[in-house]
Point group: C2
Amino acid sequence: MSTIKDVAKEAKVSIATVSLVVHKHNRISAETSKRVNKAIKKLNYHPSRSGRRLVSQKTGNIGFILTDDHFLRSEPFYTRIFLGTEFEARNYEYYILLTTIPSNYDVKDHPPRFILEKNVDGVIIAGKVPVSIISQIEKYNLPIAFVDFYPPSNEYPVVLIDNISGGMAATQFLIKKNHKNIGFIAGDIGHPSIYDRFRGYKMAMDYAGLDFSELNYIVDENYTARENGYNAVKKLLEINNDITAIFACNDAMAIGVVQFLNEKGISIPNDISVIGFDDVEADLSLDPPLSSVRVPKYEMGIEVMKLMADLLKNKDATKKKILVSVELIDRGSVMDLTLKIPMPA
Amino acid sequence: MSTIKDVAKEAKVSIATVSLVVHKHNRISAETSKRVNKAIKKLNYHPSRSGRRLVSQKTGNIGFILTDDHFLRSEPFYTRIFLGTEFEARNYEYYILLTTIPSNYDVKDHPPRFILEKNVDGVIIAGKVPVSIISQIEKYNLPIAFVDFYPPSNEYPVVLIDNISGGMAATQFLIKKNHKNIGFIAGDIGHPSIYDRFRGYKMAMDYAGLDFSELNYIVDENYTARENGYNAVKKLLEINNDITAIFACNDAMAIGVVQFLNEKGISIPNDISVIGFDDVEADLSLDPPLSSVRVPKYEMGIEVMKLMADLLKNKDATKKKILVSVELIDRGSVMDLTLKIPMPA
DNA sequence: GTGAAAGCGCTAACAT
DNA sequence: ATGTTAGCGCTTTCAC
């Protein structure tokens, strides 16, 4: 491995000059610059991170934290976000240190090692994490940015899904196809993202003048896994069998819904239409393919890295909130009721 | 952040002494040691990585490379391996730098940045990767270890699944339940892991004296995705409808098999038994749940990290090959034919 | 058993 | 426009 000294010798300049050339300072003559760059190429020189770090008192690393639950989700949701972050980090010459924490992280637990050892310049937190870890990290006085999680205070830059618009879009899509009895299936409606999707749903219903009693149209489970979707739709149809369409707050639950309906021989979309949220379809190839609201996961990862870079450059950077927009993807799990020929009673 | 100087001042010793205490050198008196350790605690001192790295000429990082295809697989297979590696790395005070490469990586592409910048002490390669990247990395003269991939040469330590035993176990499980017409479904049988599973299958068939012609029992697709499983079983049943059990070379394909059989109204396990390989999460939510061969993914990650640590400590470490053993998990997708009441013809 | 000092590769303030 | 030099935090050799 060649060092700055080797380059200096090769180009017959001082190491300071080499450093200046590397950093593209404009007070170096074009000629010297060229000579130095030639030497750099020839020796395949890459500045040592360690040297740089020592003098700059920066690590060049960003920590990326999420719960193991989220990391191991069978749909590549957070992994896609991570990929976006890792990709964007390259543009800023940062490295990402990925670590998971237990989803039941406790105040007594140690924060991730890279924080203890101050081996990161900032921390990105992806998805819902226990509040205890946030207060832990705050003690270390590190810049923090969030993605897909409402931070506990307004102090932090954050990238969020535009859940309200998404919830509205999904619902309006159903309404446009002439559905009036639209059920909503939630998993922990207290979770901000879920609640916003619900708000979107409600707003769309209100705008369309569709009056409904929540008791008969909404089922809330305490988690958003497949089995919860399965149970939720079961309950929903017990309390209300005029339902013609179901909006599940995420695809995992929607998959449970589909499973239940398939089992009962209820045809999708002929008997009941289903729409989800997240668009994990592309990764799962479901049967039938599920209409959903696409969330730009990769882009979210990019955006949060940008916010972090901003924050690192300028400690007083506005604590920006970014709402990434979503897009409805129709794959045929919703029927247009205006086209349906009524069955004889 | 406190430095070694602060600790030295606090404990009224030289920085050299602090360093020796930190490294548990035994030529320091117990008393001094105690005083220094107290100061370390008091100041919450953690040695700076950057300082250490500079002098040791080591980065303290290990690169972890896999293709984006693999990282984004909907079943958390490689993510679990990564988690094991990351966890074990903590014991050796290493950090893991995770990066993906395109699955169509080409000689013209740049190797991962952490290699160019020499920001890792070694590289772990997980799963099948294009050979071109291996030869690229070899140029940088970095220690390499593999997990779940047959390296192109014997020079490397590697952690592999005991696919032959697994293939035998799955097949023998079927045989014990009195199946004789057992189909094998592969995706790229040229892939060493798949081929070994196939060898296990064949050996078990041979041992049991079950003669069969490959043409009628094996279908090979060129990939192991769900749709390939779907297509494979379709073909298989066209050429041979005496099949009572199907051994799919991995769960992804098995899921495709289940999908096809469900669609055709062929009952599992009453009409046809199915067994897979890998034991991925998705099996559980499958209907019916899939019997499979469990692969200890997390442990594989741990093992490969151990090999890497070995290699780093002792450049001439034996190039160990570790075969991790697998375990049959029965979830009821296999029927015991001895219990089956024959239908009247 | 402990300390002084050199030096790892780099940046930046200062000198020329 | 370019060079000299101090110093970032640490480890390690060599004195004492």
